[in-house]
Point group: C2
Chain length 108, copies 2
DNA sequence: ATATTTGGCAACCATTTGGTTGTATTATGA
DNA sequence: TCATAATACAACCAAATGGTTGCCAAATAT
């Protein structure tokens, strides 16, 4: 099994995606993230740990509070993968077009 | 727990991402996907099932073979989410700029 | 000074995940 | 026709995942 725990895996969980969305408006402490969120503090703490580990958020201690901030630059990896896949995909059709064109020429 | 088994979860697994990359060059049957891939046929079949279930690939029966083809349109959901997140993120800075500007005005 | 808020730690749990092996079925090629 | 290639089906397994509860420690507010 290949190493997991990367950005792809981080955003795979819908709860974590919601947490990220919440953080987009500004930094929040764990309690703030937990508001209107039928989920225990500990569960949130675990998600925060995952997000932090793969660089999707940064965590800053401030007294007894822990402020989390989104780190969207890590999403580049995802965006790049999607873009690269699409590019390869479209190239596949170009190759097919070229092939059809060649075939056409030969039939004339 | 919220419903999973969506595109995000589909591309979360590195093995599945490799399978998708393989399929970008053209359709393959299960055996073809399994080539140079230290993994059992059954494991691949399971990944194929997941990818099919969330529309990342289409599967066509052809005699005894099962040809898989990539379906990249589903990646829109991922790309859109990333784009929307980035937009919100940048808006956050705009708001901060505006705030600072207002503050500056009042100080004059 | 004391109650409350914020969060850490640890144990526990059910389910899912990613994988395996073994056996059966069916289409195809020699 | 018959061996083989391509896949299905099922049972099983270890580890990871996403969650819980209970208790503890330390800042902070009253």
């Amino acid at each position: 099994m290949i190493e997991r725990r990367d950005v792809f895996q981080a955003i795979a969980d819908p709860t974590r995606r919601i947490i990220i969305q919440k953080l987009l408006r500004g930094p929040l402490n764990l309690a703030g993230i937990g508001e209107d969120f039928g989920i225990s503090r500990q569960a949130i703490a675990k998600h925060i740990k995952v997000l932090n580990e793969c660089g999707m958020i940064s965590v800053t201690q401030k007294g007894r509070e822990q402020f989390c901030e989104a780190r969207l630059s890590q999403l580049d990896e995802v965006a790049d993968w999607v873009a690269a896949s699409r590019k390869l995909w479209s190239q596949r059709f170009e190759k097919l077009d070229k092939f059809l064109e060649e075939t056409k020429k030969q039939n004339i």
